[in-house]
Amino acid sequence: MRNEEPLIRARGLVKRFGEFTAVDGIDVDVAAGEAFGFLGPNGAGKSSTMRMIGAVSPPTDGELRILGLDPAVDGPRIRARLGVVPQTDNLDLELSVLENLLVYGRYFGLPRAVVRERADELLAFVQLTDRGGDKVDSLSGGMKRRLTIARALINDPDVVLLDEPTTGLDPQARHVLWDRLYRLKQRGVTLVLTTHYMDEAEQLCDRLVVMDKGRIAAEGSPAELIRRYSTREVCELRFPLVEGQPGPEHFVPELAAVVDRGVVERIEALPDRLLLYTADGDAAVAAVAAAGVHPLSSLVRRSSLEDVFLRLTGRTLVD
């Protein structure tokens, strides 16, 4: 572990809106150069946390230091060193692509020539060089997202905050974006992101916290969390779904022997399938057949953060 003060440090952080508690006492440390994630479903309190870290929304309670500063006192100084990519793009639709960057640089007091040079570099970085003169409205969703990221980098920030960076994008646009974020990470930029996609968290995060109902349910690297809260493999069994007939959970008692014999550690019943948590998926499939249960299909895969989330909260991430 590093000895220096973390870039972001929260203790007992709380955010309430009237009666509603969005963030319910969380502790977070983010070190320089780290890619840190908040993984959780919609409404877990991720965005509220990000707005507090962004020094825009004052915490209701608890302690928060960002870059060693108190956001209640030093909001502008903190924001000068952050790059923010919000959940919904907030580009100026009346401006061109390039103008969006040029105009934004001025808020940070950067000399015109510096902003101009950086804007060109950033357009190249997000692969929008040939769209500089176009109206923002003519860009695709993925391009707008990339432009928002370029704009967040205009002040050469120490920390980039990304709230659901790829939500709503098609798979190809997501991969382009992940590639750009991965490059940023390699340059040593500290990334803090929220997501409800486990693949995104696995791809980008060195370390993450699983959030649920405003609290942190677990913390660690993706691999650590999977090791701690899940088995190596998962066997997914699907059964014919017939209206009025019992669902997959109906087969759980018949598989009790498989669990007793230790081939399978535990079984989770979802509305459309059973998940068998096991060290050896193929052995589990064989044991299921031996028990006289014949699913429509069986699929063996590695455990993911989705399984971690299911284990911790009893619910799936994306509903």
């Binding site: 962004g54 909001g75 502008p76 924001r79 919000p86 907030n90 009346e94 401006l95 704009r151």
Partner: protein, 261 residues
């Protein structure tokens, strides 16, 4: 609470709005000037002849010279309404550019000051162009007519600040139609732009005195015709200033509530 002052944040937002304005300044400037010029032509040149041939206005002023400063200030009100209604709601709810501004070192007060700077710019440029048009019409009684510009600016801000506060609180844009129908249009018609409010029934005359537009129109007209006395000037400026200050305080509150909670 931080006092609204000219800061880098405010100037940057003003610059952002000007950069956008460069894309549509022609259509915008024309539409803000064409309407008052049409009113000036229709009412001033036609109706005005009838008025002047009849009993005329108190003080023997030509109707055109009476109408022109009033229209200039009423147009300032319209521009302030236009720029502080949909753009403010849009900045918060639609394209959310206000949120983007507040992610920079800029503060809520900077955003408001930058917005009011831009409204001031729009009010002044539109008023200056209208002024040129009314000089061309021969509607300027004397060079004093130039003094209508600061009066238009003050009136514009007296509308812009409270309308900004109102717009920032709305959940949808239907409130603007109500504001237009029940405040802006009645004020435009009955607050002394087209005729002295002494023509109204006594109760309505008193309502007219309470409208910021009447004070703006009276200030501009008095300055243009050289008939303004110091006490009246002080009352008009003070009353309009009150609307500006109250509007700014309320707008800051609205912005904080919507953007920084």
């Amino acid at each position: 609470m931080t006092a609204p002052v000219l800061t880098r944040g405010a100037l940057s937002f003003f610059g952002q709005r000007l950069t956008a304005y460069r894309h549509f300044w022609r259509s915008s400037l024309i539409s803000s000037v064409v309407q008052p010029v049409l009113f000036l032509a229709a009412m001033g040149l036609t109706l005005g002849v009838l008025v002047d041939r009849g009993r005329g206005l108190p003080g023997g002023v030509s109707y055109l010279a009476f109408l022109a400063p009033g229209l200039l200030v009423a147009a300032a009100m319209q521009t302030a309404f236009f720029e502080s209604s949909y753009p403010v709601m849009g900045g918060i709810k639609w394209d959310r550019i206000f949120e983007a501004v507040l992610a920079t070192p800029a503060r809520v007060a900077d955003l408001l000051v930058g917005h009011l700077l831009y409204v001031s710019f729009r009010v002044l440029t539109s008023a200056a162009l209208f002024l040129a048009a009314l000089v061309a019409f021969g509607a300027a009684a004397s060079p004093l007519v130039v003094l209508t510009l600061p009066a238009a600016l003050l009136t514009g801000l007296a509308f812009a600040a409270p309308i900004t506060a109102f717009a920032a609180r709305l959940e949808n844009d239907s409130g603007f139609a109500g504001l237009q129908r029940f405040a802006i249009v009645p004020m435009f018609l009955f607050s002394g732009t087209f005729f002295p409010v002494s023509q109204l029934p006594a109760a309505f005359e008193w309502i007219a005195y309470l409208t910021p537009l009447w004070h703006g129109v009276s200030l501009a007209r008095g300055l243009a015709l050289g008939t303004l006395d110091g006490a009246a000037a002080l009352i008009h400026v003070g009353y309009l200033g009150l609307w500006v200050v109250a509007g700014v305080v309320l707008a800051l509150r609205s912005f904080r509530k919507r953007l920084a909670t």
